[in-house]
């Protein structure tokens, strides 16, 4: 072989191998996206189907084979749940109840929970025993407590009231808030509050003026958790209330008990019921991201 030939061969091999590498790189860098897209399609398909059913006339819902693409759309189902019918109240009242109860109960749970978490995390009150005991409040499924709660609520006149649900939801979510916030409290720099003590702040001032702002990202996580937990809760809402004061989760299955199976209407109501939660999570996300950018130390 002449030396020129060798050179040519080698350079061709280099070209080929680099092209191959580029292909390989493209594949390697794209396969996570393939996996993620696949998973997303799998996870989001039911959501897509709800949207589809919500906008379909009743006759199309059960057609076989099912039409995968949106055709023949209608607003009838939305109209039905929004304006109500002789047998069904409009959805707005239920959404209102859910919103009121979720917001008030979340605010209570967050206020109590963050104070509690601060005391436990900063001053180690009660050692690990107390914090474990608080968490253990959530080991029981709500259904296990329904009978005693029902009896207590009847005695106290709390059955079927906003106040009753607000109280019980606050109590149920405080442990979640405490546990979530304790982590944030422990990882937040203690020196900030110590600096505040030296600057003349008392415990309460240091907590409100210094610690709370630093804990904001954690608080928004906790707010999202509690709000969505309460918004989605069904068992207690159904057992301890549900006649005069009914939440959206109680409303949805009611639609089924009318004359016919109102699948389109249920889908439409479901859509309306998840919207507030999505909006709320979206708003909170802004706080989450901003909170992480705080850089007061070092």
């Amino acid at each position: 072989m002449t030396s020129q030939k060798i050179k040519k061969n080698r350079s061709r091999r280099i070209v080929r191998s680099s092209r191959w590498r580029r292909l390989k790189n493209r594949f390697v860098s794209s396969w996570p996206w393939v996996v993620i897209s696949g998973f997303l399609i799998f996870a989001l398909f039911p959501v897509y189907w709800i949207v589809l059913v919500a906008f379909r006339p009743r006759g199309d819902i059960f057609q076989y084979p099912a039409a995968l693409l949106p055709t023949n759309l209608t607003l009838d189902n939305i109209r039905f749940v929004w304006f109500g019918s002789p047998t069904n109240e409009p959805v707005i009242g239920f959404l209102g109840n859910s919103l009121l109860i979720s917001v008030v109960a979340s605010v209570i749970a967050l206020s109590f929970g963050v104070c509690c978490a601060y005391a436990l995390g900063r001053f180690r009150i009660g050692g690990s025993f107390l914090s474990m005991w608080i968490l253990s409040q959530r080991f029981l499924p709500p259904i296990a407590l329904v009978v005693p709660l029902f009896l207590m609520f009847r005695q106290l006149g709390l059955l079927d009231t906003h106040l009753g649900l607000i109280l019980i939801y606050s109590v149920f979510t405080i442990p979640i808030v405490v546990w979530l916030m304790m982590g944030y409290v422990q990882s937040a720099p203690r020196e900030l509050e110590e600096a505040a003590y030296v600057d003349g702040a008392g415990y309460w001032t240091a907590f409100v003026r210094i610690a709370l702002p630093v804990l904001k990202p954690g608080l928004s996580v906790a707010a999202v958790f509690t709000f969505i937990f309460i918004w989605n809760e069904y068992v207690l809402a159904f057992q301890l209330a549900g006649n005069k004061v009914a939440t959206i989760t109680v409303y949805l299955p009611r639609l089924r008990s009318a004359i016919a199976e109102l699948y389109g209407e249920i889908a439409a109501a479901s859509l309306l019921s998840v919207l507030p939660a999505i909006v709320f999570a979206g708003v909170m996300q802004r706080f989450l991201v901003r909170g992480l950018a705080f850089g007061g130390l070092k």
């Binding site: 110590e194 600096a195 003590y197 705080f294 850089g295 130390l297 070092k298």
Partner: protein
């Protein structure tokens, strides 16, 4: 203004005793530096003084008042933390004004004082920024600004410069010194940095394992360390230790011999030494000379570090490591430096427990 007195202060965390009975008096306007190895309790002692930590025993007295039960604020102290501890959600102005806000000063009075403090620290153009928009040096200045706005009587600094790079550290060190001169306030300063300790301190307190090893003016500690620990803690490069033996004890002096057989007479109190006692002598790097001295030791040069006007000769003598300072420019040959001369008046002598038998350069002795 204040005089701080600590009487037999002790502190334990759980079962570990961290501060073991400390007595200390710090005079008005004094600049005292705490040094010591990591974990010896410097920060803990500072926090006890500040009131962020409660002493288990002993008394903390400011002027003539026992302040053990007073809050940090009531003690009238200001503290600069190693991490600066700037409030991340407040602007520089709000950070500096926070102590004033806590004592309910009027907003215009706060603004005035903050502006004045910002001017002296040259951060007046940063007042609207938030801490995450500041450089390390600027954060440091803000942290100092927050302490000076309310005229505290006692300043505590816990390694305030350790997060800065070398240049900035020197700059801020000078800044702190100026601050001390201007405010004439009492300052206590914790550092790992010898240069900071030597340059800033009126007195240095050397701590080890929760007890004070020695207190004194920087040069006094350097020249008259009471034990091997203090001797090796101050000075860079470190003091050299060589093992020696007593061959003869005379009146007010002893004759020692080194491993190589070199003999020399050292004036020292001889009450506690006997013939054949094992001792350690300490020689600072700058006390070696290539020629001269009362006696000399063999030297095996391994490396010369040239730093410009001085160079450090690393090597060994009879298996003992030695670093010697050499004040002549240029490369030195291994053969030229085959022995090092020592002036016996400038050496330190320690007994087997590490205590100094004779201080090195005390005026009346040399």
């Amino acid at each position: 203004m204040s005089v701080l007195t600590l009487k037999n202060i002790a502190k334990s965390f759980g079962a570990t005793e961290v501060i073991k009975g400390i007595d200390l008096r710090i005079d008005e306007g004094e600049f005292v530096v705490f040094v010591g190895p990591s974990g010896c309790g410097k920060s803990t002692l500072l926090r006890l003084i500040s009131g962020l930590e409660q002493a288990d025993a002993g008394e903390i007295i400011l002027d003539s008042e026992i302040v053990n039960d007073h809050t940090p604020f009531e003690r009238g102290i200001a503290m600069v933390f190693q991490s600066y501890a700037l409030y991340p959600h407040m602007t520089v102005a709000e950070n500096m004004g926070f102590p004033l806000k806590m004592v309910k000063e009027k907003p215009h009075a706060i603004a005035e004082k903050v502006n004045a403090a910002a001017k002296t620290l040259q951060i007046d153009q940063l007042l609207d920024r938030r801490p995450d928009q500041l450089s390390g040096g600027q954060k440091q200045r803000v942290a100092m600004g927050r302490t000076i706005v309310r005229d505290p009587t006692l300043f505590l600094f816990d390694e305030p410069l350790s997060n800065l790079d070398a240049d900035l550290r020197i700059e801020m060190r000078v800044e702190i010194e100026k601050l001390h001169k201007r405010l004439k306030a009492t300052m206590i300063y914790v550092t790992h940095d010898q240069v900071e300790a030597m340059t800033l301190a009126d007195r240095i307190v050397v701590l080890r394992d929760g007890v004070i090893e020695q207190i004194g003016a920087p040069l006094d500690l350097y020249d008259n360390p009471v034990n091997k620990f203090v001797a090796s803690f101050l000075g860079s490069p470190k003091i050299n230790f060589l093992s020696a033996r007593v061959v003869d004890v005379g009146e007010g002096a002893a004759t020692l011999s080194l491993r190589n057989g070199a003999r020399f007479v050292v004036p020292m109190p001889t009450g506690d030494v006997k013939k054949d006692d094992a001792l350690t002598i300490g020689v600072r790097p700058e006390d070696f000379a290539i020629s001269g001295g009362d006696f000399s030791i063999p030297f095996d040069l391994e490396l010369q570090e040239q730093l410009g006007p001085v160079s450090y000769l690393h090597g060994s003598s009879n298996g003992e490591k030695i670093v010697a300072e050499h004040r002549v420019r240029g490369k030195i040959l291994k053969e030229t430096a085959s022995t090092l001369g020592v002036n016996s008046a400038r050496i330190h002598v320690f007994d087997t427990s590490g205590r100094s038998v004779r201080h090195g350069r005390k005026g009346q002795e040399t």
